[in-house]
Amino acid sequence: MTLAASRDGYGAALLELADDDRIVVLEADLGKSTKSCLFRAEYPNRTFSMGIAEQNMMLVAAGMASTGKIPFASTFAIFTERGFEQVRNGIARPNLKVHLCGSHGGIHTGTDGSSAQSIEDLAIYRTLPNMTVMHPCDDLSTKALTKALVEHANPSYTRTARNKTKRIYSEVQAESLEIGKFSIIREGEDVAILACGVMVSEAIDAADKLASEGVKATVVDVHTIKPFDHESMTSLAIKCGAIVSAEDHSIIGGLGGAVAESLAANHPTPLEQVGVQDVFGMSGQPDELMEHFGLTMSDIVDAAHKAVARRTT
């Protein structure tokens, strides 16, 4: 088992993309943290320090995109939100292909505490027309999906995580992921667990536990929250009849929100949400916090049993 942090995949992707000289990188005094520093070290002439000034960074990136550059701009997930309206009006509205990366997302970020733990980024960026929203689960999938953005027709926001979790994919598997398509990691017909980010490895462990209890679970890595893969969602709802969403994010408006909207519109099915229950985080070690906020493998197992008990088919 390899441990890795998804933010490392972002830095690795920038380096692999560097031959394309349209690629430019913007940072806001957190390049060492988001890992754009890897690109800076090799390509200082295409790396722009914007200082601690996130709002400005958004429109500078937009201006660059308007001339045909492909800007990748990063800071902590939470501090991208400082420039939310800039993203809305300056990037999403004119559909300029700026790719934002917000690292250190979620409660899992740990001891920095609530000011740094964005639990709302997926929700707010998802509300913007034209915007693609991703939250990959490991370094290799982050690398592959970030590289795929070069050919993508829209601006995007990708959340990465600070801390290491289990690597889920091999390099080859990761390369086969497609933006906007569910990645089914394992199949089972009793319940479908849809997870993103650091919760994917928890979901896999939960499926093992459930199997030992006689419940067969499908596990999906929803690396792309938007555009949402409604078609796959509907087939899973039909097949399993019980759904669990699991995210290191508020239960309002993120992955669980997207799942709920999709199910309500296409195939109403019992859904149990594992996520942050509309409260702010606090300082602590990632494991302690995940337990306190109900974001562990066993919380997913409990939710799965509840969802199965509510099944009507």
Binding site: S49, I52, A53, Q55, T111, S114
Partner: protein
């Protein structure tokens, strides 16, 4: 009904210097125990905080939320170990609380947080917000004819945030005088030296151009700090104290070293730091 107006128990410069030294040790201990946090900017700002609490700030441990108290807004909220060590030195929190820095459910959160720590008036962690918040307090004080005073401590890197200048303009526009800004000019931010990240030119001249009165001081000279604080209270018009400081001050290998912005010392380094701060 509220109690009598809070007062400040004034200490001598020599006492304050000793207190600051104790605080420096506590800062390094906190960061070491947590194996995370921000030693550099805490060691650069600690003399300023001790000067404020021990020379001027009218706020008491019996009633740290008294409506007429003076406020200190640590806008660069990552320097929380400095704030916690000062709050401990002046009796607002216990020594045991210092052991909860960055610990699950602890009184001392990673970034200063008014919800968690007695004596903390502002929840920081996101740079650029403190001056606006301080301005709100100052405007309320003016409206209600209170005589409380607000000090806002900013980082020099933090001054890259646009909101700082929005607030700087608004403070002048609203003729606010019961507020002083202190900039901890240590020349380093997160990734690198300030001039590498964003050339800021003559920062004092920028504040002056916005209409603020300026005093430049050595931010580690306690007598100068106290004098500047007193000057800013008496002066007409909002003042900025530009405090020239050294990031990591007091620990040789942290001094002026960008890599100790947000990193704990290892065991060996910790021992050395403790020797140097003895």
């Amino acid at each position: 009904m509220t109690a009598a107006e809070p007062t400040c128990e004034q200490r001598t410069v020599e006492d304050l210097e000793l207190i600051a030294k104790d605080c420096r040790r506590e800062i390094v201990r906190m960061v070491k125990r947590a194996n995370a946090g921000h030693p550099g900017g805490s060691l650069s700002v600690i003399d300023l905080l001790v000067g404020l609490y021990g020379n001027t700030l009218r706020v008491t441990t019996e009633n740290p939320t008294h409506p007429d108290r003076d406020r200190v807004i640590l806008s660069k909220g990552h320097a929380s170990p400095a704030m916690y060590s000062a709050l401990h030195a002046f009796g607002f929190i216990e020594e045991a609380d210092l052991h909860t820095y960055r610990v699950f459910n602890g009184v001392c959160q990673g970034h200063v947080d008014s919800k968690w720590t007695p004596g903390v008036d502002f929840s920081g962690g996101s740079l650029g917000m403190g001056l606006s918040f301080g301005l709100g307090i100052a405007l309320s004080g003016k409206m209600d004819e209170k005589n409380h005073f607000t000090w806002v401590i900013l980082g020099d890197g933090e001054c890259q945030e646009g909101e700082i200048w929005e607030a700087a303009m608004a403070t002048i526009h609203h003729k606010v005088e019961n507020l002083t800004v202190i900039v901890d000019v240590n020349g380093i931010q997160n990734d690198d030296f300030v001039d590498q990240q964003m050339v800021m030119g003559d920062l004092a001249a920028k504040w002056a151009a916005f209409g603020w009165k300026i005093k430049e001081i050595d931010g580690h000279d306690m007598a100068e700090i106290c004098a500047a604080i007193n000057w800013s209270k008496e002066a007409v018009g909002p003042c900025v104290i530009m405090a020239r400081t050294t990031k990591g001050k007091g620990v040789s290998f942290m001094e002026n070293n960008p890599s100790f912005h947000g990193k704990a010392p290892n065991d060996e380094e910790f021992e050395q730091a403790m020797e140097e701060l003895a």
